[in-house]
């Protein structure tokens, strides 16, 4: 599928995810996984913030015409992230005492990229 500026939607999305990952690394996060997928769902980024394991949903937008990126993280999407997190935590072989679910919005315009990081955007319990 082609976006308005010629780049495919997927390309814009993965570019945005890279920008979000760089943003986290610059702030001392350790990125463990990108695009983690499993039967129940998917997570865009899994990172360590000190002792806290963070599951990040990244939303990329070029315009606000479809609403704010964070609005796009619906209850259904949250459930998919939670299920993927469950799968990851079950089989990663490590024990994490604290986890968190964040949402990052990446606004990509022609001139600049604007990143908003919302910590603990939704909770572990549905």
């Amino acid at each position: 599928m082609k976006g308005r500026r010629g780049a495919s939607t997927a390309a814009v999305g993965s570019g945005g995810e890279r920008a979000a990952a760089d943003f986290l690394v610059a702030r001392g996060y350790h990125v463990l996984e990108r695009n983690f997928r499993c039967r129940g769902g998917e997570v865009d980024l899994i990172a360590l913030d000190g002792g806290v394991l963070v599951f990040v949903e990244v939303k990329v937008r070029r315009t606000l015409s479809r609403g704010a990126p964070i609005e796009a993280v619906t209850a259904v999407k949250q459930a998919r992230v939670r299920r993927a997190a469950q799968e990851y935590l079950t089989f990663c072989g490590r024990i994490f005492p604290r986890i968190r679910f964040d949402v990052m919005s990446v606004m990509k315009t022609a001139r600049n990229t604007d990143i908003t990081h919302l910590k603990a955007a939704f909770s572990t319990n549905a």
Binding site: R82, A85, Q86, L89, T90, F91, I95, F96, P97, R98, I99, R100, K119, A120, A121, S123, T124, N125
Partner: protein, 219 residues
Amino acid sequence: MTSAESRRINRLHRFERDLWESGSLLLCGLDEVGRGPLAGPVTACAVVIERPLRLEFLDDSKVVTELRRVALDALIRDQAVAVSIGWADHLEIDSLNILGASRLAMHRALAGLGLTPCRVLVDGPTLPGCAYPQTPIIDGDAKSAAIAAASIVAKVARDAFMTQLDATYPGYGFASNKGYATSDHLAALNAFGPCPAHRRSFTPVVQPTFDFAAAGALP
């Protein structure tokens, strides 16, 4: 034993009596405990009997007090032809899911009997892959003496194991909650995270209740 209790014990043998009358000799009750807890193994027990268990207070392990369970456990082991316990650990529960692991524990209990029962009375739905003729009984631990006996022996064995596990992984209250999701247990999960004996495929283990304020998300 009061006459009412005697009649209850009689009724508890209704499946067994039918089978004995139709010529089966060795009847095996099969039940499992520990599906619900967030930590530790699931435990199955097979109890083979050849005559009625005239035991006061014999009932589903969930309605018998802990003290009576321990007393009954000894009496059941005394009167039964054979008793065998099968386990499936938390790692098997994570990889097989709880139903698959319960069945595995049941198969292990049957395999450990060292004899061939004429018929197996299974609690719940049919046990797939069972080598012996079986009679599945929904809610069997409250309806069949053999299954009730199996549920008590399994419960006593699992509780003893969980009490020992409390020494290995203190702080979660395994000695008292046996791994079940009590409020103390959930609070400990929140504070320390899971221990190696926790079932990580169980949601409350890896996703404890979340406090936004404590996470610093709220101003």
